[in-house]
Amino acid sequence: MSRLVSATAGVTGTPLVTDILTNQYTYLLFALLLVIGLYMVVASSNLVKKIIGLNLFQSAIFLFFVSTAYLGESGGESGQAPIIPKKAVAYDPYASPLPQVIVLTAIVVGVALTAVGLALVIRIYGEYGTLDEETLREVRADD
């Protein structure tokens, strides 16, 4: 990745690895959010909270992708937003646009999923009058 970023940005030399030490905390945050989100999905018995957990889980992945695109301080210059004016003569270090596009797409997918999930939750609430998984199980067992 570091090579790719430097390749697209036209920077020769210093790999990203040294910079990661200063930027590493986003990856830690990624792991933390991922696990918290997954835990919410599994452990919470409230259906809406499960969907919130799912969103957190996905946000963690977005954070991971965005973090990979980030170019920290390298050789005195940090990465710019990848908007290159037509008249640009030299290439500054630009952040890789690809992960950002990926995240943009994934966010759209995530929004659609949340919408469908909440629509289903509303229907479940209308039908059974509860959002609690345990209660729902009891109500449905009585049917």
């Binding site: 430097s6 390749a7 499960k50 690809l98 997918v109």
Partner: protein, 536 residues
């Protein structure tokens, strides 16, 4: 030349068609079926054309989305050469995806015959139906790992909507469960893709495979033994196994199959898990390639172990169910276990050329055979349900006399599922078993054998009820309260015809086994040579 447009058409036609039922629905009610039938007829024709180009014309049809700006470029930036990497998204129809394209198009068209009477009849249903078809096509055709995620989610979203399309509370609960588990699975896949992207700098399947093999100058060695790459395989395998409903990750599937409307069950049981398993096979074989598994034999052993457990557990759970739909839902868990087992066998370090060949044959034949068998089974079950109100195994007592065609199809499809020659179920299982023997993976041979016996267990139980239990013996002869569903408790010729057609195909495809295996020969060679591209 024109063939290059076909993959795009296959995705665009149903997605554009999906807008029509909603728009035309403003002027006329119940226009959805006609629109879907028209669109999917075009789709089937295009798919057949593509299949013809791929198999008869021996082409690898590639389309790069976005026109001239994109494609394979030789760009040198600074001192780095991009080595002909692809810019943009590729759609690829080769020896593997071609078969799936034809399968998806034909099954989607055939299930319409069932849905006409069985409903749901709302226009929105057909929009979702067409979007699902478009998503499945994209999933099958794409040559880009992230694009695969997007299509995986389109398929997922549409499936959740379709499962809940009869507006009952139970189906909403099933759909939500599917949504939560399915999305988690797809997100796992995305994490895996992220890891691969970080290490290889590309998302194109062929390019990722080349970088992993250490081909470009800027990679010193093959990357197979790097923890990041191994972890990415783990995430991708778990994600796609969730979508394909492999044993510990299958919990969404029986609910989704049994609570959704019958037409939806037929469609998703035949296609949705099938394409997920296809994606797993493609990524395992072509992106990671056998060399990865030679470097990490543990990963493939783990995959095989999970698949084997899935076969046994799925079959046992199927035998314990009382609702017929759930019996065959769990049966899918077992059958996809078999398929994943063969996917793993093909790349197992112990597998020689012969074993790889048989395993690939097994996967392809069983993937297609299972889609036909399971679709047909659910069609027969759904028709029996709406005509005789039979939902539980015990309610099947003596139905064979009243519904000879449906029961006959059910019996033929059941035997095909068990693996009685000459049906297609036999051919698939035979190759899977043979591959395990060739690779000398004896526990797997035992599992294949056991799966046949276990399948016999639950199919025979059903057939015994259908044919040999007299009607009066177990259930009271009171007419069952007709289920006042959308279908109104009637069976159309289309519903019966679909079940019979599937039964005929299940036997007929058995005889066409040699043609199927010939068709995927290029794929076999590509895997044997660890080549990232499947060339004719």
């Amino acid at each position: 030349m024109t063939e290059e447009l076909l993959p795009v058409l296959l995705i665009v036609v149903p997605i554009l068609g999906a807008t029509l039922p909603l728009v035309l629905g403003l002027f006329r009610e119940r226009v959805g079926w006609a629109v879907a039938a028209g669109t999917l007829s075009v789709e089937a024709a295009v798919a057949t054309w593509l299949g013809y180009a791929v198999y008869i014309g021996d082409q690898r049809v590639v389309h790069v989305l976005g026109g001239e700006t994109f494609g394979r470029k030789e760009v040198t930036v600074g001192e780095f050469d991009t080595e002909g990497f692809i810019v943009g998204i590729e759609l690829v129809a080769d020896a593997l995806s071609g078969l799936l394209v034809v399968l998806v198009a034909l099954v989607a068209l055939a299930v319409l015959a069932y849905a006409r009477r069985a409903g749901p009849r709302r226009n929105a249903f057909y929009s979702a139906y067409l979007l699902l078809t478009g998503g499945l096509m994209g999933l099958v055709l794409t040559g880009d790992l992230f694009n695969l995620f997007v299509f995986l989610e389109i398929v997922g979203l549409m499936t959740y909507a379709l499962v809940a399309s009869d507006r009952s509370g139970a189906s909403a609960v099933a759909a939500l469960k599917y949504l939560i588990i399915g999305t988690t699975g797809a997100s796992m896949y995305l994490v895996g893709v992220g890891y691969l992207f970080v290490r290889t700098g590309t998302l194109n399947m062929v390019d990722v495979s080349r970088v992993l093999a250490g081909e470009p100058a800027w990679v010193e060695n093959a990357l197979y033994s790097e923890p990041l790459v191994v972890a990415s395989f783990g995430f991708i395998a778990v994600g796609l196994a969730t979508k394909a409903a492999i044993f510990p990750l299958h919990t969404w599937q029986p609910d989704a199959y049994s609570e959704s409307p019958d037409s939806v069950t037929v469609l998703i049981s035949a296609l949705v898990s099938t394409t997920a398993a296809y994606a797993l096979a493609r990524i395992t074989w072509v992106v990671f390639s056998p060399d990865f598994f030679a470097a990490n034999p543990r990963t493939v052993e783990l995959l095989l172990a999970i698949a084997a457990v899935s076969v046994v557990a799925g079959s046992l759970l199927a035998a314990m169910q009382r609702r017929v739909k759930r019996v065959f839902a769990y049966s899918s868990v077992a059958q996809f276990g078999l398929i994943v087992m063969a996917v793993g066998t093909a790349v197992h370090p112990a597998a020689g050329d012969q074993a790889t060949q048989f395993a690939v044959y097994g996967v392809v034949v069983h993937l297609i055979g299972h889609a036909v068998i399971k679709g047909g089974l659910f069609a027969a079950i759904g028709a029996l349900n709406s005509s005789a109100g039979a939902r539980y195994v015990r309610e099947y007592a003596g139905l064979a006399k009243q519904r000879p065609f449906l029961s006959g199809s059910l019996a033929v499809l059941g035997f095909s599922l068990i693996g009685v020659p000459p049906a297609v179920g036999f051919v698939g299982k035979w190759y899977i078993g043979l591959a395990a023997v060739e690779a000398e993976l004896w526990p797997l041979v035992f599992v294949v054998f056991a799966s046949t016996l276990l399948t016999l267990l639950y199919v025979a139980r059903l057939l015994e009820k259908l044919y040999f239990t007299p009607l009066a013996a177990e259930t009271d002869t009171e007419p069952r309260p007709a289920v006042a569903a959308d279908g109104g408790g009637s069976v159309s010729y289309g519903m019966v015809a679909l079940a019979v057609l599937a039964a005929v195909l299940a036997v007929g495809l058995g005889f066409a086994g040699a043609e199927l295996t010939d068709a995927v020969q290029p794929l076999v060679e590509a895997i044997q040579e660890s080549s990232p591209e499947v060339h004719p």
